[in-house]
């Protein structure tokens, strides 16, 4: 069983990006478990003065959720052509110390939805850059979901093409995680 943690960059209750992750969980193969992280709103603003042992419980919770997962799937909206501040802030917390952070070598992938025409492509690119810089194994894929309000309703995702893209993204991520497990076993 491959365990994937889903992190949505949107806090909104009816978030399109959180809905995408739920759809990804449903589209995942039988040997993949995708669990949604729901503590993003509780992460305090990063302050090095607070980055002491023990860390804030919300931060420790996120770090251990990432550490326990075989891979992480991010779904990000785009705020002003970039990553939402709260998501970036959470990554900044768990990226420290950089040399030993929980995302180091962790297979990660990024998808994203926006109500605009481009489907959060810039935020996805920036998030991939940030994740690569702190040492994650970033899967080379992009899944933009433009005009998200036309592809998602109260019942969830209504676009089968996007659903197939999510299934592919989850499988690519799980494949990286399985390969990492093999490397560990050999080593």
């Amino acid at each position: 069983m491959t365990r994937i943690l889903g992190i949505s960059g949107s806090l909104r209750r009816d978030s399109h990006n959180t809905t995408l992750l739920r759809a990804a969980a449903e589209a995942a193969g039988p040997d993949i478990e995708l669990e949604l992280y729901d503590g993003l709103k509780e992460i305090p603003p990063y302050d090095e003065d607070d980055d002491v042992h023990p860390r804030p419980a919300s931060v420790a919770g996120l770090a251990s959720a990432i550490a326990d997962a075989d891979a992480v799937l991010f779904a990000t909206p785009e705020y002003n052509a970039s990553i939402p501040g709260q998501l970036k802030n959470a990554i900044d917390w768990v990226s420290r110390p950089v040399a030993t952070n929980v995302l180091r070598n962790k297979p990660v992938a990024v998808v994203g939805a926006s109500t605009g025409a481009f489907g959060a492509v810039w935020a996805q690119a920036e998030l991939r850059k940030v994740l690569a810089a702190l040492g994650a194994r970033v899967v080379d894929l992009e899944l933009p979901v433009p005009h998200a309000h036309t592809r998602i309703d109260e019942g969830g995702l209504t676009d089968d093409e996007i659903r197939a893209g999510l299934a592919d993204a989850v499988e690519a991520l799980a494949s990286e995680a399985r390969q990492r497990e093999r490397v560990k076993v050999v080593a």
């Binding site: 950089v98 070598n105 690569a132 810089a133 040492g135 994650a136 194994r137 970033v138 990492r180």
Partner: protein
């Protein structure tokens, strides 16, 4: 120029003296040259008549670039991907010693799991006998590779739009080999 193949060292198996050896790399970065060293290196030189073969490794996890965060970045999938490719490897069975003490080597270099032929040049220090009565030679080798051919293609543009990090990387190996004995003295 002489192209005669001479014996690089007396026949036998020569072991690396890792304390008195080093493997460094140099690459243009921003306004200068960035240098790093791999601390954990291993190598063995085998001389059999006129044939000499060399195999060497460097542990990616031992890369030292003065900053632990940068070292971690170099080990990450962005650069060497130490988790999947923990070693750099070099192997050759074609070491030619020219009359002037210079050596030329056609070998294969493996970085990030990608093996490419490389041409290496350098010098050899003729055998001496050390304090312990062992034979000892020095071999200094240099090569230049395009890191992107090995899949090490990270970059970041500076404000002018130019890349911050060059593609051509110089690799320098300063190696001392030891062989028990003292027969050459």
């Amino acid at each position: 120029m002489s192209t005669a193949t001479l014996t690089i060292a007396p026949a036998g198996t020569w072991s690396l003296d890792p304390v008195h050896s080093r493997v460094d790399f140099e690459v243009s970065y921003l306004a200068g040259t960035f240098k790093g060293e791999f601390h954990e290196v291993g190598a063995e030189l085998t001389v059999d008549g006129e044939r000499a073969s060399l195999e060497g490794t460097a542990k990616v996890a031992s890369v030292d670039v003065k900053d632990e965060n940068l070292s971690a970045h170099l080990q990450s999938p962005d650069f060497f991907d130490a988790e999947r490719h923990p070693e750099l490897r070099f192997a050759t069975e074609d070491i030619r010693l020219h009359g002037d003490g210079k050596v030329s080597v056609n070998g294969e270099l493996t970085i990030r799991g990608v093996t490419k032929p490389v041409q290496v040049t350098g010098t050899v220090t003729p055998p001496i006998v050390d304090y312990m009565g062992n034979d000892r030679i020095g071999l200094n080798l240099t090569t230049s590779v395009d890191r992107t051919e090995f899949g090490v293609d990270w970059n970041q543009p500076i404000p002018s739009g130019d890349p911050a990090l060059a593609n051509d990387v110089t690799i320098l190996a300063e190696l001392q080999f030891v062989k028990p004995g003292g027969e050459t003295s």
